[in-house]
């Protein structure tokens, strides 16, 4: 594969990761106390958990299954979606049966998907709790983008001629750098695509463009550019 395609591919992968992270319902510390909507952990932890599962499934397909590249990317996406889906489901089981709160969003009056009334069920003093349907769907879509982004990074690094183990390691670093940029843009909690914070996405895309572009250029220069010191 020619170097320019790989650089553009890596930048697209970075942007997909950033979009994915913005769609995942992250509640942070408030959600851990059932005081905000989303899963009760940080953006980076959730995104990394989902992204790395995608990387593992994509890596298996790439090396052992002998299928076209689109299948590899899709399998990465499905790995991520499964991981995040299970996380959100188990999170909901704990919120509903353990804490005893209904999954509800505080950012919208009616759930955009089920049309269920939301504001009546928000406990006073909190910003929603659990993972309501709209956030769950948004999270699954986010994991789809994040998984494709992670898998694309891994595949492109392999195409550069970097060994599989090192590719996986660089892909993890690349994923984390982009996930952290998205996390800084979100600054705390986000419920999904219906959250007003989702409108900040373009800024994160620009910053991801810069950082992913730099990492992609130095990677390509060192492996296929023939630059040696």
């Amino acid at each position: 594969m020619d170097p320019i395609t790989i650089i553009i591919g890596l930048i697209i992968a970075g942007i997909l990761i950033v979009i994915g992270v913005h769609l995942i319902p992250v509640g942070g510390a408030p959600a851990a106390m059932a005081m905000a909507t989303g899963v009760g952990t940080g953006t980076v932890q959730l995104a990394t958990g989902a992204g790395l599962t995608g990387l593992v499934s994509a890596g298996y397909m790439y090396h052992f299954a002998g299928v076209p590249m689109s299948y590899v990317l899709l399998s990465g996406a499905i790995g991520s979606m499964l991981m995040l889906g299970i996380t959100m489901l188990i999170g909901n089981v704990i919120y509903i049966l353990g804490v005893g709160v209904p999954p509800v969003s505080a950012k919208v009056k009616f759930d955009p998907i089920t049309k269920d009334r939301q504001d009546l069920y928000v406990s006073p003093g909190t910003e929603g709790h659990g993972v309501p349907t709209v956030s769950f769907v948004s999270g699954i879509i986010g994991a789809f983008f994040g998984g494709i982004g992670g898998a694309l990074t891994y595949v492109l690094l392999n195409e550069l001629g970097i060994s599989p183990a090192i590719s996986a390691f660089i892909a993890i670093g690349f994923f984390l750098a982009n996930a952290v940029l998205a996390a800084y843009n979100i600054a705390g909690t986000i419920e999904g695509f219906h959250d007003p914070k989702f409108k900040r996405l373009p800024k994160a895309i620009v910053s991801s463009l810069i950082v992913s572009g730099f990492i992609a250029v130095i990677l390509v220069l060192s492996s296929v550019g023939g630059v040696k010191l």
């Binding site: 942070g28 510390a29 940080g42 953006t43 980076v44 932890q45 990394t48 970097i162 060994s163 183990a165 090192i166 390691f169 660089i170 993890i172 670093g173 690349f174 994923f175 984390l176 750098a177 996930a179 952290v180 940029l181 996390a183 800084y184 843009n185 979100i186 600054a187 705390g188 800024k203 994160a204 620009v206 910053s207 810069i210 950082v211 730099f214 990492i215 130095i218 990677l219 220069l221 060192s222 492996s223 630059v227 040696k228 010191l229």
Partner: protein
């Protein structure tokens, strides 16, 4: 021990602050020296442990400076970016310098600093995070992450050449380096944060988390180097014991005892 006396003591130790520049110089020069010495002779591999400890110290100080502003995403995300941003730089640094191997740590450090600078500038001016130290700290944290990975590689394999980097990746030990390194950098501030957080105490914990990493690097190095790995383990264990006891002692000294509302035992007498 009364609450008043303790807070007075905590107030008294507040003034002493180690300058960030001093720690940065110590982190860069000390770690690079440690990495070079460790790669000279196998039996000196344990000196790489000093590099691990100093790089952790530098990174933890950077995390402390930036996370004090309340980023809103949690301290772990700041620590993970250290290693995440540095990984590509380390590999590129070593790939680029196959002709002059000795340049590898310096090139890797420079590339990691550049990656960190870009992350910092993006966060400060594009994402509009209102944190003045963002650019400097992201640069420092990524640099520390690169030195930390290189120090681990040098301690575990006794070299930082491409061949050893490949073998450390293919055995999967690099994943241990990644997670343990990130935790070592993010844990000190994450554990100490709060209203009475003090630089001295946080950095003492950073020394302890650095030393704990040396023990793990020593165990991994048994596979690559054999006997010199045992020296690394002993060195790390000793350093961990000393630094961690100092940290626990400081924590007890600066802790504040609050009466719980139960009648104090003194009044029974």
């Amino acid at each position: 021990m009364s609450a008043g006396a303790c807070s007075a003591k905590a107030g008294a130790v507040e003034e002493k602050k180690i300058s960030n520049n001093l720690i940065a110089v110590l982190g860069i020069v000390g770690s690079l020296a440690g990495i070079y010495v460790a790669s000279m002779f196998n039996f000196l591999a344990f000196v790489g442990g000093v590099a691990i400890i100093l790089a952790t110290l530098w990174g933890a100080n950077g995390v402390r400076t930036v996370a004090k502003y309340g980023i809103g995403t949690g301290v772990p995300s700041v620590g993970m970016v250290a290693l995440g941003g540095a990984v590509a730089a380390v590999f590129v640094g070593i790939y680029l310098t196959t002709k002059t191997v000795l340049l590898a740590p310096v090139v890797a450090l420079v590339l990691a600093l550049l990656t960190g600078l870009l992350i910092g500038i993006s966060a400060r001016y594009i994402l509009k995070m209102n944190i003045p130290v963002m650019v400097r700290c992201m640069t420092e944290i990524c640099g520390a992450g690169a030195l930390l990975i290189l120090a681990h590689v040098a301690t575990i394999t006794g070299s930082f050449e491409l061949f050893y980097l490949r073998s450390i990746s293919e055995t999967g030990i690099i994943m241990m380096v990644f997670i343990v390194g990130a935790l070592g950098i993010l844990h000190p501030y994450n554990a100490c944060l709060g209203a009475d957080e003090r630089q001295g105490r946080t950095l003492k914990l950073a020394l302890a988390t650095g030393s704990a990493q040396v023990v793990l690097a020593g165990i991994a190095s048994l596979y690559f180097l054999g006997l010199p790995g045992i020296i690394t383990i002993l060195f790390g264990a000793l350093a961990w014991f000393v630094t961690y006891s100092i940290f626990v002692k400081t924590s007890f000294e600066e802790g504040i005892v609050f009466n719980t509302g139960l009648i104090p035992e003194v009044e029974h007498k």
